[in-house]
Symmetry: C2
Subunit: 219 residues, 2 copies
DNA sequence: TTGACAACATACTCGATAGTATGTTCAAGT
DNA sequence: ACTTGAACATACTATCGAGTATGTTGTCAA
């Protein structure tokens, strides 16, 4: 009986990146639910049916795990959005496509995006231990670069006379508040298929683009 | 020399409410900067040049202090917005006025509003000790009532054909994301007078109302 | 004037958690 | 077969912070 189903106590994970991704997913969910500092690593470990030892084998500290989740979240955004930026189409269409890609990405990787948000205002308020602070600044650079992509599309569409805004900083901030909204208010329902999620995303995009003074039709 | 400027070690505060308000302001700033659980009460005390003893004299626990800040933040919102709701004017004008009042209130009481936000998603994710959880639910009711005010104005303006939306939940969420935006991205500049702040608020309102399909002029 | 109490300050306790040190298992190379 | 090291698990330490217990100061009522 004691020799029934064994050999899973130490499930060696041949691929290190896979193990780290599993840890990150658990961490993202915990960070999202309780915030960075309220989350204990024992909690994260429990979520993936593991122990703190495993986490510290892959990460030097809690902060590094957090930063890796942040980085991964940003990467997901870039991968969703950058291909579209290279397409050759009118600025307004590119804007619509980019907004939708972002919203869909946000909905699908909600926990990670929430962590990104936490990271952003950890930097803003200058919390986080000094040693990791440098890395956090670097990641903030990633975020700025991402934001810059959107700014350019806005300016192009403005030049085409398709949209209109006054202060671009406030406009951009408002757009981001809108399309990041699902991070805060979206809760997945069971039996919710891809169509429904797309409908939600479409509506977010509609509001975001209307906000910019766009009065044309939406596909 | 030891008897120079004395008698300020125990600055008796004749009015209890004043003392509590001073504590709340310090707490709001700390909670905003580092989040609820990362904030220590020693930190809050230090911010108002006081000690933990004073805080525990007025509050039974850290959670109760948090909840009082939450409640106070919501009260500030109600006081800013409710007078306008009773005015007799077209729905679209009332909508504009209410949005602006909210944004101005948010900018002026930024730290408190940030705490409100934290409270909202503490409830959403079911964190916070069980005993205070009941009070948190009650406060969430306040928030719902506040949101309800806005929903009604939206519906009135929609009935008048001034605005247009599809799913009112998503529309309302998007509007709130917009007009609460300053909680996240606004940073007060020195030498920034009332006019500049009003200009920022006006722009937020413009985007929020455009989002709802409004194409008319803004005052 | 005194004593009782509100409004604090100071000095402790005790549990939770980040981080560490050490033990265990397995797979691959030799 | 056996040795080595990566990938964990377990057991421990050290710190920080919420909550408490107690001390101190000023004020007002009788």
């Amino acid at each position: 009986m004691a020799t029934a189903a064994r050999s899973t106590k130490y499930r060696r994970q041949s691929d290190t990146d896979l193990s780290r991704m599993e840890i990150m997913e658990g961490a993202a969910l915990c960070f999202e639910a309780r915030g960075y500092s309220a989350t204990s690593l024992d909690e994260v470990a429990a979520r993936i049916s593991s122990t703190k030892g495993r986490i510290y084998h892959h990460y030097a500290s809690k902060a590094e795990l957090f930063l890796d989740v942040y980085r991964t979240g940003m990467m997901m955004n870039f991968e969703a959005v950058e291909p579209i930026l290279e397409l050759d189409m009118p600025a307004i269409d590119r804007l619509k496509a980019v907004l939708k890609a972002h919203v869909l990405c946000v909905i699908r990787t909600k926990a990670f995006q929430n962590v990104v948000g936490q990271g952003v205002d950890m930097l803003r308020h200058g919390t986080m231990p000094a040693n990791e602070h440098a890395e956090l600044r670097q990641l903030a650079g990633l975020r700025d670069a991402y934001s810059e992509h959107f700014r350019k599309v806005l300016e192009d569409a403005m030049a085409d006379g398709e949209i209109e805004y006054n202060n671009i900083k406030i406009a951009l901030n408002s757009v981001f508040m809108c399309i990041n909204g699902p991070i805060v208010w979206f809760t997945p329902r069971k039996g919710q298929d891809e169509k429904e999620i797309e409908a939600i995303a479409d509506e977010c995009v509609l509001y975001a683009i209307r906000l910019l003074g766009y009065t044309g039709k939406m596909p």
